[in-house]
């Protein structure tokens, strides 16, 4: 890891507090929010910063998440930086406005603290909320821990506002597991964050009285398709921009980020692909089983949208068997969202690795190193040439 060029403070914070600190340092022009467990702390801490005069942000308390996202859309269209945070059903209530934000190419940044969707009502972690929003045209970045949540929120500002991207960004962290757990992390000096994100100068915005424009006009069968194609281009360009921003961020912070983390994959014959906090558990198991001589590794996708299909396939080339751990159920009966996309990504590999899906942790169900160990043992037992797994989808930790 490169030596950090900027002075950093080592602090102990919860995930939510770290995100709120990042927002304080970013100092967006508008924050519009509605509280929901487990994301409430983020805007609660932030409202303190507003009340204490630590930021000049216009803080809008709305009557619902639908209104919170709408207010952010309005602010962003007017030409300023806008941010919010939500979770679970709050994100679900934002639904139609998510598509409006991405379709209008508004560079909002939102933190989503992953929580199960009702019903049955549950406040604990799984990825059903943000996975449901995976096709909304937002960039999605998942964080393993408090440090990553902090770093991702700051980088998200630069990614969203890049002229080749101009798309809203969602930054995820696991509800309670990360949002409410106290961890050590390093935070940058306020000035370094301000310098990193730069001044926000949108090329086109509603309050530019010298260049009046129309936003949100009717767009029928003669133009809508072209605008959707443009949106895809923003996501295609985002791959490179995310890596560029990560490079710049590493120069300031000393911490390195990519589209995903490949851990001990060099000579791996079996791999687990898993996002967010569970990657920490899997990493521990990889280290332990490597000591026993097993050639295994971990891939932790950080960026789920755009989905880095080719990059993931490249790192899985030569792997005999791969298990995907999905912390959400797509209800397709053909595997979770990460599994179906990952398996499609490795379709062209020769030889094609065996792929199995493990749905786990729904509604905050704990996962143990022994569970992960069991997955690796099954992968290692796969015979060369096996491409079908039976069962294709396993519900890990569910009572029979």
């Amino acid at each position: 890891m490169a030596v950090a060029v900027a002075l950093q403070k080592k602090v102990a914070m919860t995930g939510n507090e770290a995100v709120a600190q990042a927002m304080r340092q970013i100092e967006p022009d508008v924050v519009a929010a509605y509280p929901i467990t487990p994301a409430t702390d983020i805007v609660q801490y932030f409202s303190n910063f507003v009340a204490n005069g630590q930021v000049k942000t216009e803080f809008v308390t709305t009557e619902s998440e639908h209104s919170a996202m709408s207010a952010c859309v309005g602010a962003s269209a007017a030409g300023v930086r806008a941010m919010t945070a939500t979770a679970s059903n709050g994100l679900a209530l934002m639904w139609e406005v998510l598509y409006i934000a991405s379709g209008m190419r508004l560079p909002l940044v939102m933190t989503v603290v992953n929580r199960a969707l009702s019903s049955p009502i549950n406040i604990h972690c799984d990825h059903s909320d943000s996975m449901g929003a995976r096709d909304a045209g937002w960039i999605q970045i998942y964080s393993e821990n408090t440090q990553e949540a902090y770093d991702n929120v700051i980088q998200a500002i630069r990614i969203a506002q890049h002229p080749k991207v101009l798309l809203p960004v969602m930054v995820m962290l696991d509800g309670f597991i990360i949002s409410h757990a106290m961890e050590n992390l390093e935070i940058l000096e306020d000035g370094d964050v301000k310098e990193f994100i730069g001044e926000y100068r949108p090329e086109r915005y509603l309050l530019d009285a010298d260049h009046p424009i129309t936003i949100g006009a009717l767009d029928l069968n003669d133009y809508y398709f072209e605008h959707k194609r443009q949106q895809v281009e923003g996501l295609l360009q985002a791959r490179k921009v995310i890596l560029e921003v990560a490079g710049d961020y590493q120069r300031v912070s000393g911490r390195s980020y990519g589209l995903f983390e490949a851990y001990r994959m060099e000579d791996a014959e079996a791999a687990i692909v898993v996002m967010s906090s569970t990657a920490g558990t899997v990493r521990t198991v990889v280290d332990a089983m490597r000591k026993e001589g097993h050639r295994i590794g971990l891939i932790k996708p950080r960026v789920f949208r755009p989905f880095p299909a080719r990059d993931l396939a490249e790192v899985l080339r030569g792997v005999k068997a791969v298990a995907v751990m999905d912390r959400s159920e797509s209800m397709s009966t053909a595997g979770g969202p990460l599994f179906t996309e990952l398996r499609s990504a490795i379709y062209e590999l020769e030889p094609r690795p065996l792929a199995a899906d493990y749905i786990f942790g729904l509604g905050g169900r704990d996962i143990y190193p022994e569970d992960v160990c069991g997955i690796f043992q099954r992968l290692l037992a796969a015979k060369p040439g096996d491409i079908c797994s039976d069962p294709m989808v396993t519900y890990l930790g569910v009572r029979e």
């Binding site: 379709g103 101009l166 767009d219 133009y223 605008h227 443009q230």
Partner: protein, 110 residues
């Protein structure tokens, strides 16, 4: 004919402003709403008494008047609602509504 060939006279996705933004103010004038018209008003200058009721009531400003006198219709924007014909005093009856498909042979009067 492919769908691509059919729409090639319009700009492609690389040439359009992003986000569906429209950068040119006042461009609604370029959209000729008159092509929605099913019924066409036809003006009889002989019968017209220049009371200007049609000009006053037209919701689209598509009745053309000059120096206090009616001179005809702006068919680029007339949607054929027929308010002009309705408001024309019955004794005058200077505006008739005819079907566009039947009127295609006749030249537009303005």
């Amino acid at each position: 004919m492919t769908s691509k060939a059919k729409s090639k006279e319009r700009p492609g996705w690389k040439d359009l402003p992003s986000g569906g933004f429209i950068l040119e103010p006042g461009n609604a004038t370029k959209y000729l709403t008159g092509d929605w018209r099913l019924m066409r008003p036809v003006w009889d200058a002989e019968r017209c008494i220049d009371c200007l009721l049609c000009w006053l009531f037209c919701p689209d400003g598509a009745v053309l008047a000059e120096g206090g006198k009616i001179i005809g219709f702006d068919y680029d924007y007339c949607k054929g609602c027929g308010i002009c014909a309705k408001e024309c005093p019955p004794k005058v009856d200077a505006i008739k509504m005819i079907r566009e498909d039947e009127a295609l042979e006749e030249p537009l009067s303005a």
